[in-house]
């Protein structure tokens, strides 16, 4: 578009850093592609469950990072550090409460999102890989819940973990090895707590972040499915030849529901 006059000062101030960044990294173009890409016309509220799950996870990550600044992962001091966070640290009760309830919200949203994807048949070609990644994310999310439960080192967490480790012990062949792996030493002790802490805040979140990155990349690349019952579902079959496009002046196809598509949709 030919400029009639030089861009205003405000535009220049905004554009200059963006152009600088774009020329050196291409990131601005990537963000622009993400923001302005096309999605099916009948995308609805049920498609928000995925990003809602991501939001819940980010809340867990942020509140978890803040909690980690005050939490002491040692059997003698863990419980007291949680008491201190709840009572003494400014808004510590809020951070701890959000982390505790955010875990349940995260898991519920994951299941709802999985249900939506299943209902829409959005695990079918070409999105099979995304489904597999999603199931792995579900397992990792539950694993976070399991390892996090022990960290306050209270009665509920302690005994639930004892039972959980023992159940792992019943697995054929790998059972006893798994038990030793989770205990960290011969029996339940400080090593166990440290191990669960490392799994909960380093290993599992790292894996989750990586898999979310892949998951989002695939969603952007492959697109989001329309609700399958929608008459305007993207990808519907056409049985009749396209009518001659009635595009006169502006070059776009006339009308949203072309007669051919409408009659063909069952």
């Amino acid at each position: 578009m030919a400029q009639q006059r030089p861009p205003s000062l405000v535009r220049q101030i905004i554009n200059y850093p963006l152009d600088w960044l774009e020329e050196r990294s291409g990131l601005v173009g990537a963000v622009r592609y993400f923001l302005f890409r096309k999605v099916p016309r009948d995308t609805n509220w049920s498609h928000t469950l995925g990003s809602a799950t991501l939001t819940a996870f980010l809340i867990q990550a942020i509140t978890g990072a803040i909690l980690a600044m005050y939490y002491k992962p040692e059997t003698r001091t863990a419980y007291e550090s949680i008491e201190r966070i709840t009572n003494d640290v400014t808004l510590g009760w809020l951070v701890r409460g959000m982390h505790k309830w955010g875990a349940s919200v995260f898991i519920i949203l994951m299941f709802l999102h999985m249900g939506r994807v299943f209902l829409f048949g959005a695990y079918k070609y070409p999105r099979e890989l995304n489904w597999v990644i999603g199931v792995l994310l579900l397992v990792l999310g539950l694993f976070e819940g399991l390892t996090g439960y022990l960290l306050p080192y209270d009665e509920t967490g302690y005994w639930a973990t004892v039972v959980a480790i023992n159940i792992n012990g019943t697995a054929p062949f790998l059972g006893p090895f798994l038990v030793n792996l989770l205990y960290g030493s011969a029996d339940f002790g400080t090593d166990t707590l440290a191990r669960f802490y490392s799994l909960h805040m380093l290993l599992a979140p790292g894996a989750i972040f990586a898999l979310i990155g892949l998951h989002l990349y695939l969603v952007i690349r492959l697109g989001v499915t329309s609700p399958p019952w929608s008459p305007e579902a993207a990808g519907n079959e056409r049985y009749e030849p396209e009518p001659p496009s009635r595009d006169g002046r502006d070059g776009r196809r006339a009308g949203l529901l072309r007669p051919g598509a409408r009659r063909a949709a069952r």
């Binding site: 959000m98 397992v139 639930a160 019943t170 499915t225």
Partner: protein
């Protein structure tokens, strides 16, 4: 090859439709996402506030508010009166464990069924290769999903409401029905309070698994007080990888339990 071509053709149509008739992600879909995310944040903050402001500083059940207490009691490996329970989203697995009564079959609940379910879940796109996405034309998928959701819902509910009898209410009955001597009473009380009945049954009370019924365990040869003290302190020594290690109970409690179990020879013995 025709099927593959159809798949490709459908996806090509999809991409074409999105390009020509789709709407840009920003602002339309992004608006929806943002609103939903704000709702999620508000719900989480709301839950945290309700939890905190309706409870008080006491630990355990005393300080409980609408959403439970601020803390449970501090972990104590020597506790004899705590029933282990996982977080709510594991209740369905927790209850699955209790359905299988025979010790040999427990592994089905702990390893078998969850593993098979997970494998099926991962393999779903490779098992269901039809292109059809409309729910009403996918009877198998939809029926399977409904059954799974119902099953998990029922199992979760049952896992949440399961109760064990705590306290020595059954000791008198057991002393009478199982011909127990008076010095077995202390152990019988511990047996009920320490959560043994989460996995064991005794004269029909308690859980059918994963541990065996114990009302006649003392009648088996070689199972005297020493044996039980060693076993309960370290079941691993006897090849039992499921039962927790209760060495932390302390000498007196272990001895009481052992006396109780050694005297449990069934209604006919003793």
């Amino acid at each position: 090859m025709a099927v593959v071509d159809e798949k490709h053709a459908q996806f090509a149509r999809y991409k074409d439709d999105v390009q020509t008739r789709g709407k840009p992600f920003f602002p339309h879909a992004m608006f929806h996402d943002t609103v939903m995310s704000v709702v999620v944040v508000c719900v989480i903050i709301g839950l945290a506030c309700i939890w905190y402001f309706t409870s008080d500083a006491d630990a355990g059940e005393d300080g409980s508010g609408w959403l439970g207490p601020r803390y449970a009691d501090k972990a104590d490996p020597g506790t004899t009166s705590f029933i282990p329970r996982p977080d709510w989203y594991f209740y369905f697995l927790f209850y699955l464990l209790r359905i299988f009564k025979w010790p040999e079959s427990v592994i089905l609940a702990t390893v078998g069924i969850p593993t098979i379910a997970l494998v099926l879940l991962i393999a779903l796109p490779f098992l269901d290769r039809r292109r059809e996405r409309r729910p009403l034309r996918r009877p198998v998928a939809i029926t399977g999903a409904i059954l799974v959701m119902l099953a998990m819902g029922v199992l979760t509910y049952k896992g949440a409401t399961v109760r064990e009898s705590l306290g020595g209410g059954l000791t008198d009955t057991w002393v009478e029905q199982n011909n127990l001597p008076e010095n077995a009473r202390a152990g019988a009380d511990v047996f009920q309070e320490a959560g043994c009945m989460t996995c064991h049954s005794y004269l029909g009370a308690g859980a059918g698994g994963p541990g065996p019924e114990l009302s006649e365990i003392g009648a088996q040869s070689g199972k005297n007080v020493d044996y039980f003290v060693r076993y309960i302190s370290n079941p691993r020594e006897f090849g039992n990888n499921i039962m927790p290690v209760y060495a932390s109970f302390g000498e007196k409690t272990l001895n009481d339990l052992a006396v109780f179990l050694a005297a449990s020879k069934g209604p006919g013995g003793g």
